[in-house]
Structures are given as structure tokens and as C-alpha cells.
């Protein structure tokens, strides 16, 4: 604890490594806690499962 949940699109492993490292550094610099306290979970979502403005991103980006 704290626990950071990141909901976004599919990512490469390199992006995940950087994201976890940077989100943790950002958090430790604001809260006075060691990095060991932070957990990040990356939730990858298919564009078919994300809707913005009532439309699936899978359809929006095909146009």
C-alpha cells in the first residue's frame, strides 16, 4: 500500500517496465514512503472494450 491501478491500452514489456518505474518514482517523491510500499497493476484493455463518448475506440480508430 499505496496501490496504483493503470487502466489503458495494450503495452509492450518495455513500456510496462518504464511505466511501473516512473509511476513509482512519481509517487515516492510526493508521499514520504519507500518505493517498496508501492504496488502498480497495469490493466490492458482491448480497444473493443473501451468506450468514449458512447462509441467503442475500436470503431472510432478504424474510421
Amino acid at each position: 500500500m499505496p496501490y496504483i491501478s493503470f487502466d489503458g491500452p495494450k503495452l509492450t514489456k518495455e513500456q510496462k517496465e518504464k511505466l511501473v518505474k516512473k509511476l513509482t518514482e512519481a509517487s515516492t517523491s510526493v508521499l514520504s514512503m519507500p518505493k517498496e510500499a508501492f504496488t502498480v497493476v497495469i490493466k490492458e484493455n482491448d480497444l473493443e472494450n473501451i468506450g468514449v463518448a458512447g462509441e467503442l475506440l475500436a470503431n472510432k480508430y478504424k474510421k
Copy 2:
């Protein structure tokens, strides 16, 4: 923002299109915000990963 998370079973793409459209319309009609403000994320779960009353739905529906 707002952010709607929908946790349920596997859906077809057509169901996802309708769900995102209708959840967004339902929300805009209640809050005075444009549809562009709303994000919907559909989380599809295997019946093996959902438990109700202490039993996996995967087992319950096999009976």
C-alpha cells in the same frame, strides 16, 4: 471523467457497442455533462473467475 467500469461475462462486439452507447446516454441524461466526458470500460470475466454465494459460476451453470 466520469468513469464507468462494467464487470460482467464475455460479450459480443455488438453487445459492447450497444452497452457503451446506452450506458453513456443513461449517464448524460442524469448528469448535465456532454457525452464526450464519459468513459466506459468493459471488463469481461471468465465464469471460472466469478463466485456468487461461495460457488464459481462455472460450476453452478454446469449443473
Copy 3:
């Protein structure tokens, strides 16, 4: 199950009643399940706790 989580701003009780009713109706019309199967949880967030584009909404709306 299914479970709908709605993360947004503070709402009046009347808005909550309408939101829960409409989100449930929208969902039952897409999935072939009775309305009793659906749970909606409304998460009200202070504008000080929501950030868009790196800025708190509490600050953005004050300008």
C-alpha cells in the same frame, strides 16, 4: 453480477435514483439477464481528488 461502478462527482439523491435506474435498464436491455442480477455502486469524488491533463479539477474549475 454484473457489477457497475460509476466514478464521478458529488450527486443529489434524486440523481442517484435516476442513475441507478437508467444504468440498470440500459444493461438489462443489452444482456439477457433480469434486473435483479445488476449491482451499481456510485463512487462520489471530491473535485480535489480528480485530475485531468495533470491538473486537479478543483483548480481548473476555479479559474
Copy 4:
């Protein structure tokens, strides 16, 4: 309702059966509610998508 979300690693079906059963029993013994009221959703995450202390578990456990 209540709704329990369990975010962890990949599990076998047998582990899921036990987990759902035991989490529900633990909850009913504390809250005065029948087991039918409880839903558990198990979220399985790849070790590549979990970061602790700024490092992916996929990398940490390879060492």
C-alpha cells in the same frame, strides 16, 4: 452486494474454487448477511503487469 475483488497472479481452477468459498465464508461470518449476498471476482494478472517497488514481478522473479 457486498462485492469482493481479488487482484493477484494466475490461479488454478481448484484454487479459485477454494478462494471463492473461503472469502465468502470469511465475509458472512463477520457481516450478518447470507452468503447469497456476496460476489467475488478474481482478477488474474500476468507477472509482467504487476510492479512492486518500481520493478515488474516478471523481472524480479527471473533473477
Copy 5:
């Protein structure tokens, strides 16, 4: 990690103590991990913010 999120009604401190203890014990008995690995977060929700079958629990329980 793992991370257990419990969404339910208001609880007493004694209930929270028991719930965290029992959910953690249930989890450690199924996964081969020490109890130190588990975090539980209890999310207390007003009955005005929970809807089942399209109706707020705050209204349902008043009847």
C-alpha cells in the same frame, strides 16, 4: 500484492479488524504466500450509493 478490495456497507472497527484478519487468512491458505503479501482495502458505501435491481438500497430498506 495480492490486493483485495471489499466494497460493502458501513462497518464498525471491530468488524473491520475481523474482516481483514479472516480475508487474509482465507487467502494465505489457498495461495502459497506469507500473510505480509496481502493488502485488504475496505470501501464503505452509503446505502444511498448502492443500487440493486435498479433501486437504491436506501429506498429499498426504508419500505
Copy 6:
């Protein structure tokens, strides 16, 4: 979208401003998306509602 949820302890407004700014900067540097695409929601939890290793943090920190 993407959507970042930060579950942690109570924070000051200044901490929230920094946290939202830094988490967004960290994310934009890894994903090729403008900062306007990112939403951060900070979930503040009472120490009485967080359990680690089966014990409430409210009790652990009192010792």
C-alpha cells in the same frame, strides 16, 4: 482514457496537486498520448480501512 486510480492514505491538497501532475507526466512520457487523455482519481482511505498482513494499519501504527 487511460485512467489511473491511486488508492492510498489521506493527502493534503498540495500533495494531490503534485501527485496528479507527476503521475500524468510519467504516463505521457511512456505512452505516446497527450496529457489531456489521462485521468487520475485519488482514493483516500482511512487507516482503519486498510489491512496489511491481516492487521488494520490503524492498529499497527498505534503500537
